[in-house]
């Protein structure tokens, strides 16, 4: 349940950037390879936000797919599982995106 610590980090990050500002919603990007489960994070966010200016805020989560580049064949592909294998069979790939865990924006009450 690292989502608990991540929810804490989320609340801390927003309250530091916008101290004392009531927040209506938070937009988050959770990459397909970030290792974070959106539903678990929603559950933990409500707990972590309690008693803070984020209490009751809505989490708007988008989960962009990952994108990888194969070092063997040079191809671009979107992996369909956390095990990143190029369709050519190579495992020697660079993850270009999909590991992000980013607060993109917040809406003020």
């Amino acid at each position: 349940m690292h989502e608990l610590a991540i929810a804490e980090g989320l609340v801390d990050a927003v309250t530091e950037r916008l101290p004392g500002t009531r927040i209506a919603s938070v937009r988050l990007e959770i990459g397909a390879l970030s290792g974070v489960v959106a539903d678990s994070l929603r559950f933990c966010f409500d707990l972590a936000a309690e008693g803070t200016p984020l209490e009751g805020a809505r989490l708007e989560i988008t989960e962009p797919p990952a994108r990888c580049e194969c070092r063997a064949c040079g191809g671009d592909f979107a992996p369909d599982s956390p095990i990143v294998l190029c369709p050519c069979g190579s495992a020697d790939v660079a993850v270009v995106s999909g590991q992000q865990l980013t607060i993109t924006s917040v809406k003020v009450v």
Partner: protein, 303 residues
């Protein structure tokens, strides 16, 4: 311990037998959530970085700082959308980077040792501490939810050790490690092993400032561990298969496991060993010794 979420602010860092534990969460004022907001989630090397831990500024991905709160505080129109583009774990990553620089300046090689509970992390460190005595100073930061049992074992092996009890926390974070590092006397050219909480999921996400990530899996856990926990294995620099002395008694296919590691973590080196019989230990020592910075020349004071 934080009653609301069991978060890491409640971690206790202590050297058993050396007085009262340090409470990483501090004793600062609490807010309505029961969270210790003033410093419970961030600790530095108290001035060693020339960084004020309290001012709470934010490092943006482009390296700039977001200190101009005036623009934000109290001046937002209702319903206004504020773009942030900030990593959720930015604070942890920032502290981890400071840990990394602190360790690098002092010529200390830090290893983040991760595995499921019972894979043999502590046994591996015990034997390494004994056998490397005189060749390489090994210090250990022990992470467990409770007790100092592992720290006691490590100390008996002749290593300097500090225990972090995370309470309900399921992983170590950079702030805990930052504080634990301060309690150790780490000589130049030594290694500090950060034994993470036994868990193959959560520790993968938290950079501690280590120079290398080592993931252990024992033969008793099954051949397919790397495929089941790809997030953890993906970031490994070294994968150590432990308890090879039990191979005759369990259904473990070393070659297939090697293929799986290659699929999720093609960059990782692999070592098979038994910390009970000693088989393969030399490879582990060679891996370590080749990465530790040269110790200070005679007469040069430790920094």
């Amino acid at each position: 311990m934080c009653a609301t979420c069991g978060c890491s602010g409640s971690a206790v860092i202590w050297s058993p037998g050396a007085g009262e534990p340090l409470r990483a969460g501090g004793d600062g004022p609490r807010d309505g959530t029961g969270h210790d907001r003033d410093r419970g989630h961030e600790h530095g090397h108290d001035g060693q970085y020339g960084h004020d831990q309290q001012h709470g500024h934010v490092h943006l991905p482009d390296g700039s700082h977001a200190d101009d709160r005036g623009a934000a505080a109290g001046q937002d129109e209702a319903g206004r959308t504020v773009a942030l583009q900030q990593k959720v774990l930015a604070k942890n990553d920032e502290i981890a980077q400071r840990n990394r620089e602190w360790l690098c300046e002092r010529g200390i090689f830090a290893v983040n040792l991760m595995s499921s509970p019972g894979a043999g992390k502590t046994t591996l460190l015990e034997r390494a501490g004994r056998e490397l005595a005189g060749r390489l100073a090994v210090s250990v930061i022990e992470g467990d939810q409770e007790t100092a049992l592992d720290a006691d074992r490590i100390r008996s092996a002749g290593c300097q050790v500090v225990q972090i009890n995370t309470g309900a926390g399921c992983h170590l974070d950079a702030a805990m490690v930052s504080r634990a590092l301060r309690t150790l006397d780490l000589p130049r050219g030594s290694v500090v092993m950060i034994e993470n909480v036994g868990n193959l999921v959560c520790p993968a996400l938290f950079d501690l400032g280590e120079a290398a990530r080592v993931v252990l899996a024992s033969v008793t856990e099954g051949t397919d561990k790397p495929l089941k926990y790809p997030q953890m294995f993906r970031s490994a620099d070294l994968v150590v298969i432990t308890k090879t002395d039990l191979m005759p008694y369990v259904d473990f296919d070393a070659a297939r496991c090697g293929d799986y590691v290659g699929q999720v973590s093609p960059q990782a080196t692999m070592i098979h060993l038994s910390a009970v019989t000693g088989s393969g230990m030399q490879q582990w020592y060679d891996w370590l010794l080749s990465r530790v910075p040269a110790p200070a020349a005679d007469g040069v004071p430790r920094s």
